[in-house]
Amino acid sequence: MKALLLTRTTLIWFLLVGATLVSWELGHGVGLDSAAAAGAAILLVTFVKVRFVVLDFMELRGAPNWMRAIAEGWIVLCCALLIGLFLVAR
């Protein structure tokens, strides 16, 4: 059981929880004065989390190159699209 706890998966869980708390603080005005910058930063952190879920929890890190490329491409495009649309409203 110990071998299952001391894994990269557990490390990723800690990172995801940490990133969530960073997003939470950014969403409550900590760190960045501008709401636009904070919102964009929250979305960026969100897609870093998404990337960890896709590569490590869904195990696409070891998937065929084409599959990983599609996944990474979607993450970058979706992140850019959402940050762009968010900033348009400011």
Binding site: T7, F57, L82, F86, A89
Partner: protein, 183 residues
Amino acid sequence: MPGEEGVWLFIGGDLILFTLLFAVFLHMRAEQLTVFTEGRAQLNQTWGLINTLLMLTSSWCVATAIQAARRHQVQVTMRCFGGALACGLGFWTVKCFEYSEKLSAGLTITTNDFFMLYFTYTGIHLIHVTIGMGVLTALIFYARSGNFDAAKLRNLESGASFWHLVDLLWIVLFALLYLVGAP
């Protein structure tokens, strides 16, 4: 490739659909910034945070269950899937509190466009959670007999990938609905 190709086709299709939903949300937000900023302020962010932590933990449980299955640890596999199921139940419970809080405050799907999207998107996600809980329950029974050969592991991975999708979608929904756009 972890799991079956068909599951990945479904996951890809679902992600395309949700990408459109996320874009629609931000497009409508740009057109009604005040309504969306006020709507966001009326959400209980603590519920959102608790549910995010539950989703992340459930995903850890599922990923660990798969690793345990590869080591042929039947009991640990079942317990980890059970842990993920419990997190899913916790998510549902929090959502019930959250929805009832909103409805008691007179906030419904017809209140404005923000709450229309809030109830629709979280509702569609909750359907995913419910299906995922059904999948997790099936995986617990499926894992009970052990014999984790390649075919069985692939089936377990397919179910696990679906649950991770549910987690992934919530991660983005939490940011969009609850966090971004604070004045």
